[in-house]
Symmetry: C2
Subunit: 347 residues, 2 copies
DNA sequence: ATGAAAGCGCTAACAT
DNA sequence: ATGTTAGCGCTTTCAT
């Protein structure tokens, strides 16, 4: 690749100064029509394309948003990335990825990387217990940041799904259908989402006057494989539940696998409902009754909050936490005959 | 955010020159242990973090890989992005996203954006008929590029899945089970992948001495909704097929929806097989017999090729095209009783 | 309305 | 082994 075409080349070609070129490109001060035309021609004829790197160095903004998330392989995060990217693009921002693999160390590296790249803002789905390490650095750096999914620190803007009432609703739904022995497969301990969903599980039991029983609460570590194992063990007991609630979509897959392997029919022999919807869940037989997160809303709001903060860099308005309503999707796996749809919104 | 900490600050603090600081950071020339220590201390104590933007301007490399793909919402591309990002990261590269939405215009914008950002290389999944517009520009720019999935231009390194034999194999598989009327739902016309899979379909028919029948070849435009409609129309005819082959995973979903709506049982009333596997396909009932693309292999190879080209910027070795073998996954939807697994590799 | 020139924070000759 | 300094390509103040 030969030497890049620069603004100076354009200026020379158009017979004007570089500052004039810059100003016609950015429309940042009036330029006479004649000169403007000359410049545009020059740009076209020599095929000039502005160097964002140089621009960034001069203005100290990069129009880059850093996205830090656990495992891009996580199905939940694809739509998040897509939504962030497309919302960001509308405002002239591009996205840089940084996988945190759900480990504090990698998360820290990811953040360092992005900070080094001088991204204008960061959207982060915090891993477990990273408060001390990463978030402090982020706060100290002063780079606008919004946390999504797991709400870990009120120093930042945060946006996530409603967890407690949504999960409680699943319990109530099953209880209403007559279930008295309802198990819950929970996610990685240490995640706020996990804690809240477990809380919702217990809240739901209470409301239905059902006892909380330790052996019905198992951890699936947010993953399919572990959830499958957890269910397998759960059903080895003589005292089996009649319904299982999954703490997230991956674990739902694991639960289904376990049940299929054990030849337990859903919903006849076991009702199954899930916090988190699965893509294409409608073609599963039976369809899985689930709570769907407002993923796009979360992403869009996060981007909007982030861009607001980037723009108002000076003023430090109070960070806010947003809990977005989920959607209950009634399908077949709960074993009810009635179909309906409803939404739970906070307050 | 206050003024950024620069190398000059570190130099002052450590009582050395900036070049010494630069050299200890980059390990680009010997520095005495004492000075090195001083510098490291200074860096730590004032919390210095190198400015990649300035570095990039000076070295004219960004360590950024641009990823241009259709709709990040496309399930196929998530693992691709993930794999590219993680492979890239191992070599010190970060990924910048640019959604092409499968439209030439957006693709062109995406490429311009990335070129403006001076990415070191680009991995692109070409949209349809963009040869004239985008690829020429890319070629002219001289920025290392590798094409994935859809192989559209021998001027670039390209890596994609085997399509022809893989699809033919699906036909043969069904024919062996006794099917004589096999329909194919094809993708967007204009994609090389679509053309090749259709070719494989016809090749398979030939090999089995089955006639090609126009009404059994329908387009699903690579999307679930269209595939659903196509199947619906297909089955309105009095002369129905006994088996359907899907041209990609989205269309498979559409096909399943159509069949479920029409209360047609798989595989009893209709066999279904798919080019493209679906995530969690194993929990579908029945399990969908499918050809799985070597997605990670494609991504890894693409990154490797790209980085090789970036490093050997001078020498222009001949671009190569790589066709990677697919994997046949035998499940239940084809209606065979025997289970097996095999792999088709080119040559 | 236009131009000259001083940075932005770094790298990499070029001295010493 | 270390320091000085001229760029990298742009934006933006300051003159004109």
């Amino acid at each position: 690749m030969k030497r890049a075409v620069t603004m100076a080349d354009v200026a020379a070609r158009a017979g004007v100064s570089v500052s004039t070129v810059s100003h016609v490109i950015n429309e940042t001060r009036p330029v006479s029509p004649e000169l403007r035309a000359k410049v545009m021609d020059a740009i076209r004829s020599i095929g000039y394309s502005p160097n964002m790197v140089a621009r960034s160095l001069a203005t100290s903004d990069t129009r880059l948003i850093g996205i830090v998330m656990s495992a891009l392989t996580n199905q939940f995060f694809l739509p998040v990335v897509a939504a962030i990217d497309s919302a960001g693009r509308r405002h002239g921002y591009s996205s840089v990825l940084a996988d945190s693999r759900d480990r504090v160390k990698d998360e820290a590296d990811a953040v360092s990387l992005l900070l080094g790249r001088r991204v204008d803002g960061i959207i982060l789905a915090p891993t477990t217990n990273d408060k001390e390490v990463v978030l402090d650095r982020l706060a100290a750096s002063g780079v606008p940041t919004v946390l999504i999914d797991r709400l870990a620190d009120p120093r930042f803007d945060q946006v996530g799904p409603e967890n407690v009432e949504s999960t409680a609703m699943l319990v109530e739904h099953l209880a209403t259908a007559g279930h008295k022995k309802i198990a819950f497969i929970s996610g990685i301990s240490g995640l706020t989402t996990t804690a809240e969903r477990v809380r919702g599980y217990r809240l739901g039991l209470e409301r239905c006057n059902l006892p909380f029983r330790r052996q019905f609460l198992r951890t699936g570590h947010s993953a399919a494989r572990e959830a499958e194992a957890a269910v397998t063990r759960l059903l080895e007991s003589s005292d089996k539940p009649t319904a299982i609630i999954s703490g997230n979509n991956f674990m739902t897959i694991g639960i289904l696998r376990a049940l299929q392997r054990l030849k337990i029919n859903i919903p006849e022999d076991m009702a199954v409902v899930s916090y988190d919807d699965i893509e294409f869940a409608d073609v599963f037989r039976p369809g899985i009754t689930a709570i769907a997160q407002p993923i796009k809303d979360i992403a869009n709001l996060a981007v909007q909050l982030l861009i607001d903060r980037i723009r108002n860099k000076g003023k430090t308005s109070q960070p806010q936490t947003y809990i977005l309503p989920t959607r209950f999707i009634h399908r077949d796996s709960c074993g009810c005959s009635t179909y309906s749809a409803s939404e739970w919104a906070p307050d």
